[in-house]
């Protein structure tokens, strides 16, 4: 591992990453805080539009025109593909940077096909309305051997928060209140 105090690698400060890992290791309150809870508040915007408010950020959602919606933003099932990819990428860049590897380009192409849209529409109980499979292909150009990079990639998706959330059939706890 290459220690470069205050120097940027892949747009990150290696020393800060090390400090962060050190804190996770030694300070239980830091780990606890990073664990969450993480939150989102989703507000209806009329039609099939919605906005998700997350801390001081906001993301817009809509549905393609086929649904009579306005296609003004990506739909939730597309956002989740991006979220899976972005999370995998975070892990990859984090691990590669800690190993002192310079990344030139990094891109992930994701794809999912619904199990059965009729299930979503309430017309069938067969199969699943969700993606039975999400394909994620990483393309990377970096100063390391393909073997090293693939090892980091495998670590990255196996330890990715979002990937493991969708891959593990997370228990979603819905509750309800009409006003």
């Amino acid at each position: 591992m290459q220690e470069v105090q205050g120097k940027l690698l892949n747009g990150l400060e290696a020393s800060k990453l090390d400090q962060f890992v050190q804190d996770l290791k030694t300070k239980p309150d830091v780990a606890k805080a990073v664990n969450g809870p993480w939150r989102s508040r989703v507000e209806w915007q009329g039609g099939l539009k919605a906005k998700g408010y997350m801390r001081n950020h906001v993301a817009s959602f809509d549905e393609p025109e086929g649904l009579g919606a306005t296609d003004s933003a990506a739909s939730a099932h597309e956002h989740i593909l991006s979220a899976v990819g972005a999370c995998m990428m975070t892990g990859f860049i984090f691990q590669a940077t800690r190993k002192g590897i310079k990344i030139h380009n990094c891109e992930i192409a994701l794809e999912g096909t619904f199990g059965n849209i009729l299930n979503w529409a309430g017309l069938s109980d067969e199969d699943t309305p969700g993606y039975p499979e999400i394909k994620a292909k990483m393309y990377v150009k970096a100063d390391a051997t393909p073997e090293t990079l693939e090892k980091i990639w495998n670590e990255a998706w196996k330890r990715s928060v979002v990937t493991q959330t969708v891959a593990r059939e997370v228990k979603v706890t819905p509750s309800f209140e009409a006003l």
């Binding site: 380009n105 891109e107 192409a109 794809e111 292909k137 393309y139 150009k141």
Partner: protein, 390 residues
């Protein structure tokens, strides 16, 4: 009949790069060496390419495009105001991102690996585009020389990007005028320096006609903004004629093919030349350099009413296959062509280059040599009086 000037053998341009040249190219692209340093390495590659063409009996040789990354993006080394951008960088400026996504998926390539030259300011020729290539080539061969140049339509279409180019060129036509001026001056300079043949590459014309939605070959990024085919073809014609109007004393050609980036025939475009011919024949060039060696190129018969208007650079071998076409097969193809074209106007060449993209050659040099040898064997026999269909 016996005429030694019949059926000149030539190439479309590119030759597979040796690994050490690719290495030097990568260094150049990473900014770790100058274009001059790269060119010193490329000199050796050009010499090897020319030697192989000569040994294979090619009459009109090229320099194998060894100094170029590909047939159009190399212009960024020679022009100011034009920059190589990746599709990843362009994504924020693309209107129809969804169609880009389709193309990337079809090709299984990352957006950061696809590059296109984009006009980001006033475009000026810092250097001549190919004069250096011609000079070196002429110093090292006695054969006639061919210089391929990016066609004015392709260069304009691929370089004009709304949001990036419109400050310097509000409309694509404004850039088109600049580009045809630059290419025209280039042709005149090449002519003065003794080039025998300048070939404009306009492969995107087939994409304009046959590039169905979702199945685009993705030759250049900005095609997403194209208008309807007839308008595009008229514009291509206008640009070409503005570029070459009144120029004589040098052979001018235009090359159109259906993509040369994959060895998989099923992913390349297909369709005959019919819809293109009314425009191609109006171009003030001497020769149409076309592919005919695969069924994708469609039937020759569409040339019936245009047969004698232009010289034809007859594609007689597939540059992308491992098996070498026999000279018998090539002879047969030429004899078939003589039913439609005046034999004195037929030139023989492969369907396209052997290494259109430096990093993704469609063949190896050994096979490429063998294919060219097969063409020249066929040409020799045909010249010695194999009966030409009346």
């Amino acid at each position: 009949m016996d005429d030694s000037s019949l059926f000149p053998v030539t190439v479309v341009g590119s030759w597979p790069r040796p690994p050490w040249l690719i290495q030097a190219l990568r260094k150049r692209q990473a900014g770790e060496s100058s274009f001059k340093e790269f060119n010193t390495v490329a000199d050796d590659a050009v010499l090897a390419s020319v030697k192989q063409q000569e040994d294979a009996g090619v009459d009109i040789v090229s320099d194998g495009e060894q100094r170029r990354d590909n047939f159009y993006s190399f212009v960024v080394e020679k022009l100011d105001g034009i920059k190589l951008m990746t599709v990843a960088q362009l994504l924020d400026f693309v209107k129809d991102r969804a169609s880009f996504e389709e193309s990337l998926r079809a090709l299984d390539v990352p957006a950061f690996a696809m590059k296109s030259p984009v006009a980001i300011g006033q475009v000026h020729a810092r250097d001549s585009l190919a004069l250096d290539e011609l000079k070196f080539l002429k110093e090292h061969t006695d054969r006639q020389t061919k210089i391929p140049l990016p066609g004015p339509y392709m260069l304009t279409r691929s370089s004009w990007f709304p949001g990036l180019s419109d400050k310097a060129y509000p409309e694509i036509e404004d850039l088109g005028r600049e580009v045809s001026g630059i290419l025209r001056r280039e042709v005149l300079a090449l002519k003065d320096a003794g080039a025998d043949f300048v070939q404009f590459d306009e492969p995107v014309l087939s994409q304009v006609v046959y590039g169905a939605e979702g199945a685009e070959t993705f030759m250049c990024a900005a095609l997403a903004s194209r208008k309807d085919p007839t308008q595009e073809l008229s514009y291509a014609l206008e640009l070409m004629n503005r570029t070459v109007q009144g120029i004589s004393g040098i052979k001018l050609g235009v090359h159109v093919c259906r993509g040369n980036w994959s060895r998989r025939e099923d992913v390349l475009l297909k369709g005959n030349y019919g819809p293109l011919l009314p425009y191609l024949t109006e171009m003030k060039v001497d020769q149409l350099v076309l592919e005919f060696a695969t069924p994708r190129a469609g039937e020759l018969e569409v040339f019936k009413e245009y047969g004698d208007e232009k010289e034809i650079g007859l594609g007689v071998v597939n540059p992308r296959s491992s098996e070498v076409e026999s000279s018998d097969l090539i002879e047969k193809r030429v004899i078939d062509a003589t039913k439609l074209f005046d034999p004195s106007k037929i030139y023989l060449n492969p369907d396209c280059g052997f290494g259109t993209f430096a990093e993704r050659p469609v063949n190896d040099a050994t096979t490429a040599s063998a294919k060219l040898r097969s063409i020249s064997t066929a040409a020799k026999r045909l010249r010695q009086g194999i009966p030409i269909a009346a």
